[in-house]
Symmetry: C2
Subunit: 276 residues, 2 copies
């Protein structure tokens, strides 16, 4: 039977630990502060950012929610710069994608690397590539935390990173280059995914396609990290066909795998920033 | 017969083009300015930086050479910050490795991304990973320029990047993630290089070991980018055994491949910075 990396249970544990650590820091006189910045009117994003705020407050953090429904690059950058200077704010998260017409690079490049707890700025991503200490993006932290809690080795394995976003797959591949792993990266539409998957010890997917990875593509004993989040009505499906999981030695379920970990990782980075 | 990517000839052409473009810019009132910063007393590095100065001046650029034989992190950062503010300087190159005891990250992180013509700062490397416009490191530019001049496609190929430095192999792999290529990265001592090499369409080596890639490891028609620079006395050898080249469709010779291109790419980035 494969080992299931239980993201919900792990998140509960992490949140418990964070609650204790935040309390300790508050006792010493510092309340960790997180600023969440949302642009535009997308309801799903708004709900997600509100959930982040609720979670931050549930563990005793101070949290500000800045919602710029209609804004400009200049106004957004000015807000980020104000937050950079604010001593009560230790972490800044700008929700991506931004509202249409806004320049993502300008916005994330404005975040002070010391407060870039979501790991979105080019400065942070460069440090991830260099193997330098920094706030790794939440999606990467989530995978690494699951590996740690379940005593799995990152090193020595051949990883296939099937995906190409700036907030997960590319930083994950960059991170792995510093961990004595072999890493192969390919876009989600690469026609060679089947042959690449066949030789991989670990497959991390971010393919935006239900059951894109099928059982014939993988080798026995593979470790599956499914970052898929494909909705059909209210039901959510991963990028990996359930038949794959019978061949896997370890996998993250969808739902309940890496997804639930993301907010906890953001909050942990914020705590780290506040502890400095 | 394989196609030989002639770095010397290509460099001559690029330098000719640059000479004309610099003259044009000077005519318009701007002389491109490059600042070279060297720390410590390593004679090889000093010679190399002096060569960069000579080449910059040979195409009509203004070039400053700052040699801090004995210095501190603070002094080095202060110099970089002064150069960031200097309107006559469009590009700053800090020669790596720094003298022993100095903090490389601090030094390169101080370079204004707009003047980071050698592509060393975390901000630049993050942009390379994101696929954003920036000054790509000279080693990466050299490979891409050779591909362009010899009409080779970067896209659609499976690249093996055998190496792990911050100035070549990691940024190359990061760059390729944005070019519809498949890219596999592994450290030079990875025991799986032979099997990885076997399935690669292009192999870029940075292995610091004479003839580490042998003919039995590669497939027919492979493209070889040999970034090796292994000295035995005054003779220099690549990372790739000469027998490999008989199986290759395209290769860069050592010496005379990517090496000669590096200074020209740095100067071209400086020209770009001055043209802004």
């Amino acid at each position: 039977m494969p080992v299931v990396l239980d993201g919900r249970e792990t998140t509960s544990k992490v949140m418990e630990e964070l609650t204790a650590e935040v309390a300790e820091l508050v006792e010493k006189g510092t309340t960790p502060g997180l600023a969440l910045v949302l642009t535009g009117e997308d309801k799903y994003s708004a709900r997600y950012v509100k959930l982040k705020k609720k979670r931050a407050e549930s563990i005793g953090m101070y949290c500000e929610f800045h919602h710029l429904e209609q804004t400009t690059d200049e106004e957004l950058v000015a807000l980020v710069e104000k937050l950079n200077e604010d001593p009560n704010i230790h972490g800044i998260m700008v929700q991506l994608p931004l509202a249409k017409g806004l320049d993502e690079l300008k916005a994330v490049d404005a975040i002070d690397p010391e407060k870039d707890v979501d790991g979105l700025s080019p400065n942070t991503l460069g440090k991830v590539l260099m193997g330098e200490n920094c706030y790794t993006p939440a999606g990467v932290e989530a995978i690494m935390e699951l590996f740690k809690r379940y005593d799995l080795d990152v090193e020595g394995k051949h990883w296939l990173v099937a995906g190409e976003t700036n907030f997960l797959s590319k930083p994950l591949a960059a991170y792995l280059m510093n961990k004595k792993a072999r890493v192969t990266q390919a876009g989600p539409k690469c026609p060679h995914i089947p042959e690449l998957a066949k030789s991989a010890d670990v497959i991390s997917t971010e393919m935006f396609k239900k059951h894109a990875i099928t059982a014939d593509m993988v080798k026995d004993g593979v470790i599956i990290i499914d970052n898929g989040n494909n909705y059909e009505g209210k039901k959510v499906f991963g990028d990996v066909d359930p038949a794959v999981l019978e061949k896997a030695s370890v996998y993250t379920p969808v739902p309940g795998g890496t997804g639930p970990m993301l907010i906890a990782m953001l909050l942990r980075n914020t705590l780290k920033a506040a502890s400095k």
